[in-house]
Subunit: 279 residues, 2 copies
Amino acid sequence: MNRTLLQAQLMYDDMGRSEKKVADWLFSHSGEVLPYSITDLASKCESSEATIVRFSKRLGCRGYQDLKLTLAKEHEKKVVAPVITGNDDCFAIFEKVCNDAYMSLERTKKTLSAENMSRAMEAITKARRVVLIGLGTSAQVAEDASNKLLRAGCNSSAYADTHMQAIAVSQLKAGDVVIGISQSGSSKDIVESMKVARAHGATTISITSRERSPIARQSDILLLTDTEETMHSSLGLNSHISRLILIDALCYKIVYQNDALAHSVGESEAELQSKRIVE
Amino acid sequence: MNRTLLQAQLMYDDMGRSEKKVADWLFSHSGEVLPYSITDLASKCESSEATIVRFSKRLGCRGYQDLKLTLAKEHEKKVVAPVITGNDDCFAIFEKVCNDAYMSLERTKKTLSAENMSRAMEAITKARRVVLIGLGTSAQVAEDASNKLLRAGCNSSAYADTHMQAIAVSQLKAGDVVIGISQSGSSKDIVESMKVARAHGATTISITSRERSPIARQSDILLLTDTEETMHSSLGLNSHISRLILIDALCYKIVYQNDALAHSVGESEAELQSKRIVE
DNA sequence: CAAAAAAGTGAAAAAAATTTTCATTTTTCA
DNA sequence: TGAAAAATGAAAATTTTTTTCACTTTTTTG
């Protein structure tokens, strides 16, 4: 139920018999009205066009058209990704997985904290050394991030092996940064390494999909990618993509920041861009 | 910029002079259009009603009314200027990179051939052995694909090292499949391995962003991800994402196909799904 | 390079949707 | 009960949208 219909509920007692019919229909079919013309709606409600216009004006709209636009603006997006079926060909599945990815990115826009991103960026920029740790798919993301951070001028390394991770974090000091990447946030070895890093005074940043997870508790800065996996992609694909983009945005900002001076002295956008090329 | 207008940006080149005027006006006044009637808008754009209806239909709407409703539904979304500037904070950059990714996926939907995807899927399903080769970022994709194919029941391996790649492809026989992954399509070692695989009678599949590239010429089946990189993400990020999704869709179809029998005997959707979990 | 074909365009007609008007019905209240 | 006020819906008036079609521009082809 959206704002306009709540308003209608408040005014319900002031309405006449016929206007109430319109309100009732809208309460039980709030999502369906947009494609209907005023004539369609009048017959659905067993009411008349004039009544619908009056109803619209009561709610502060200029008329039925305006009401529809108002409702559309408040329309909560319940984009339901179509379900993949056995009859779909590869391409149809590709399209559906793409849709899933869009939705996942939209969700990530909501879960990700702008402030934490900025804090992470600053911590990384100032760090003497940045260590990235992750396992499985997350190791790939760590590797990718490390490559990009190197290009951005940070002293970073990624470790995909738990032993190497343990060694690397034990060398960290205050002012250093460790970035732990874990989809579930509960990979035991990763959490353990985060603890050690913290004990040595390093700033701990975690990239995970679960807000209440062991890794989150060991983190000074938490970067949350989308929380909810959908049906149509491998578990982890969507957060993998979110994390790749998150890393890319961070590195972009770091490059921009580091090169602000050089840039202001006349370095071209193209040169700036060239520092980011990875493949 | 919302989804519909991003779509318009993708289709911009296909529009005529007058339709472009409509698009231009909307790009610079995207928030203002809702109260305008088609006649108002036509005069604002120095265009005609008919052109606006055509423009609306191009974007998949039934007409101007429908376009307005669609825009109204997307109304709440923030308008993100397409160019990243030094003043953007990390989060704003993240949003822009997401938009880029979105546009890149839309482009990939155009370049990717549905038929070739199906042919690739069939070749992989029937193959005695699948070898994946790639370097750099593409090696990560190859690794990811190999993991998923294994889960899907294919005998697959990925090689990130050129020597290992050379050895692996020399063992292939007719009926085997090699999948070469290369952003530019011209990594010398990869192309060479594709040639060898082909000489041994294996089916060659390539995943690349360049249609006219050496690797494409060595391929029986060509899978083209988006061709044009944009300004806002690292060179390669967008095609990396496209390829991850492409792989995921392929594997999804393979799992569905392989398990069709088991499924029909009563295996649940959940069990089917569980075979795809990677992390 | 010119002719033919295709694509794009906008004025105006046609259709549809919306809003207003007004006669009639229903409700309110003394 | 009956007069005034409020509510209603059919139909008219208006506005908006969509379609049509003749004309223009662009592209292709011989």
